[in-house]
């Protein structure tokens, strides 16, 4: 195993509801990169992400993040997790939500203001979260995970339901974070987002189909379009 990997997964199986949903996966994610986790709905993306942040009971195998067992107490200050559905308090304002999470992770008021600007919610900061649009709530959820400047940021379908402009801005932002040294794992089922990742993990039905760069994927399948390349891969394995 490469000890330099930020996230390392060995022989991971997960059983949910009596069914094995991840089958003995082995994966490594390099530091300072944006890695896309792609696959159709129900392929096991969320389960894999839950295993990496340490909230998933696993049946076998080992997940290490920054050299520590996933879910270790020491990782709680170093890993950020953005759930698929925005995990925010709907009856608090955007600022109140962030102030609460800021005090849990032990950062000050200046960080709250900084992340509000970072996700572009300054104008809405005193608005109750429930009254915000889907995009605003998603950005708030992302903002809460940025407060403690995590070394590893794991995002479960952060761009679902967002408009194209916002999606583009978010991906540019993910790239910026990675350039600053953070490691990002972003799941998506939209293949056009794959082009923006440095590395791709393609999964289907709980198995890893491929781990490669977008260019390698195009080359290997002979398809220029990533959507077509992914279909090519899936059909090749059918």
């Amino acid at each position: 195993m490469n000890s330099m990997a930020t996230i390392s997964i060995e022989d991971l199986s997960v059983v949910r509801g009596g069914r094995e949903v991840l089958h003995r996966l082995d994966l490594e994610i390099e530091p300072g990169s944006v890695t896309g986790l792609l696959g159709p709905s129900g392929s096991g993306k969320s389960t894999l992400i839950r295993a990496i942040v340490g909230v998933q009971i696993v049946a076998r195998g080992r997940v290490t993040v920054l050299g520590l067992a996933a879910g270790s107490a020491a990782l709680r200050r170093r890993v950020g997790y953005v759930t698929q559905a925005p995990a925010v308090y709907d009856d608090l304002t955007i600022r109140e939500n962030l102030e609460y999470f800021a005090r849990i992770v032990g950062v000050g008021h200046d960080r709250v203001e900084a992340v509000i600007d970072r996700v572009g919610l300054r104008g809405q900061r005193d608005q109750v979260a429930a009254t915000g649009s889907g995009g605003e709530r998603a950005r708030l959820s992302l903002a809460t995970a940025l407060l403690h400047e995590p070394e590893v940021l794991v995002l479960d379908e952060p761009t679902v339901g967002l408009d194209p402009v916002l999606r583009r801005d978010l991906w540019a932002f993910f790239r910026e974070l990675a350039d600053g040294g953070s490691t990002l794992l972003v799941s998506s089922h939209v293949m056009d987002e794959a082009a923006l990742c440095q590395q791709l993990i393609l999964i289907r039905d709980g198995d890893v189909l491929a781990v490669e760069t977008p260019d390698e994927l195009r080359e290997q399948t002979g398809e220029r379009d990533l959507d077509a390349a992914f279909l090519h891969l899936i059909e090749g394995h059918a």
Partner: protein, 245 residues
């Protein structure tokens, strides 16, 4: 206020309540109206009002906080915020204590307002200092919070959580001794009643109202209420799992 995650959680829960002034008003005003109704109901038998008024006053916070906590906690569980919290540097105890502090503060407000109505306007009388009744009411609120927190783990929807009220609270009101003295109940009902925390909460309030010596039984009641609270908190903590299937 800067007491770390526990204080932050308490403040957050209070802010959530503040955002819902209608619920706050209902929790504070409804017991006042009910106690007034009981007073009017027994307008010709003031001794009955004296008998049931204080226990009612002290049991309202238990019921309100049970309901509020089970719904709030259920929302945390189903809304994903609990899972998010448990990936952060926050101890389960921070969550439990944060809730306890917030609801104790809120229950104090409720108990003080109902006491002002009961003792101030309706001539309710107690042989012990009224502050003892308020203290019991707050202890009962924390008991209600602890029970609600634990039972919320067994509800999947808010509908189910609300149904815990008639399923879990009503039998205890029927059997605690408020409607029929316990020693006049069928023996098997006395046994069931002895297993219910409300019975001890009721008994303590009733003694606070008319037993100037309080006596050993009063302190036994207090110990049982405190013990059940701690047990429910421990069970509640066990339902806050960092890892789930």
């Amino acid at each position: 206020m800067n007491a770390g995650p526990t204080g932050a959680t308490a403040l957050r829960v209070l802010r959530q309540l503040r955002r819902d002034p209608r619920t706050v008003a209902l929790i504070v005003v409804v017991p006042c109206v009910l106690i007034f109704l009981v007073d009017q109901l027994f307008v010709d038998q003031p001794q009955v009002f004296q008998q049931v008024g204080v226990p009612l006053l002290g049991l309202f916070p238990l019921i309100s906080m049970f309901l509020v906590t089970s719904i709030t906690m259920l929302r945390e569980r189903t809304g994903g915020t609990l899972e998010r919290l448990l990936t952060l540097p926050l101890a389960k105890l921070d969550i439990l204590l944060g809730y306890a502090i917030a609801f104790a503060a809120f229950a104090t407000l409720q108990a003080v307002v109902v006491s002002l109505v009961g003792f101030g306007l309706l001539d309710l009388e107690v042989v012990n200092p009224t502050v003892l009744v308020i203290a019991l009411a707050v202890a009962n609120a924390i008991l209600g919070m602890a029970l609600g927190l634990f039972l919320s783990a067994f509800a999947r929807t808010e509908f189910q959580a609300v149904q815990f009220m008639p399923a879990f609270i009503l039998p205890q009101i029927l059997l605690c001794g408020l409607l029929v003295p316990r020693d006049e109940m069928a023996e098997w009902l006395q046994v069931v009643s002895a297993l219910m925390p409300f019975t001890y909460a009721y008994d303590a309030l009733s003694r606070a109202a008319d037993d100037p010596t309080l006596g050993a039984r009063f302190w036994f009641d207090v110990v049982v209420v405190a013990g059940v609270t701690l047990a429910a908190l421990a069970l509640g903590a066990a339902t806050l799992r960092r890892r789930t299937p």
